[in-house]
Subunit: 133 residues, 2 copies
């Protein structure tokens, strides 16, 4: 498990996602101030294009440099506002979701076995992982 | 700009991405200890399926509960190891990338205009954003 590489890749995905959120934000802002430009940006921002935030911006600059500059500013602002909250949100989100998945699976397994008292139902299924504590 | 909603959506995307990284990790581990199971998991983990981490796990549990439990454990571990570094990585990553995009655009604009000394080239194009400092 190459944690350093996974962290790098995750940061890249996150930057791309925040670029997409910046695009959505600018589209919404333009929708109120300059609807034709909002429509232009919506059409430019195809699903395929916004998948890769860096390439998206590279392609936008020759077309509408002012919008590209604006998206850069918005994504930097977004990152500054929300990044610090993400570790806590993600860690607790995963813990809660994991608990929920385990609970559901436990219910499923006890439904299949009418007398689950003989063995801990999670034990056999999790033999490849650590023992549930 | 609904920062709270954007933070929630971003955390969800991040959880899904870490689930995908956990799947990749388990596939690589199994590749060394149990190649047929690795192959099975590879085939199960289609691009479409891993797009939504929660649904992926829901669908995996009835098929191979031990692998599903293992992926839960790995994604929780991954999150615990890398999340704390993400804010710094993402903030500095965006700042560096923004600087690079602005530099390139500046070069592009000064190439079009042979006498850029008359006006600051970034000024006019970024009229919709804040003034560049």
């Amino acid at each position: 498990m190459d944690l350093k590489q996974i962290a790098k890749d995750t940061a890249k995905v996150l930057i791309s996602y925040l670029t997409y959120q910046a695009v959505r934000t600018v589209i919404a802002q333009l929708d109120e101030t300059d609807p034709p430009r909002s429509l232009w940006l919506q059409r430019f921002s195809t699903k395929e294009r916004v998948q890769d935030g860096e390439r998206y911006i590279q392609e936008l600059f020759p077309e509408k440099p002012d919008l590209a500059f604006r998206i850069l500013t918005v994504r930097e602002h977004l990152a500054g506002q929300i990044c610090e909250f993400l570790p806590e949100m993600v860690n607790s989100g995963i813990q809660q979701s994991n608990m929920e998945h385990r609970r559901r699976q436990l219910e499923r397994m006890t439904q299949y076995d009418p007398s689950p008292s003989g063995s801990h139902p999670e034990q056999s299924a999790s033999s490849e992982t650590e023992n549930p504590s």
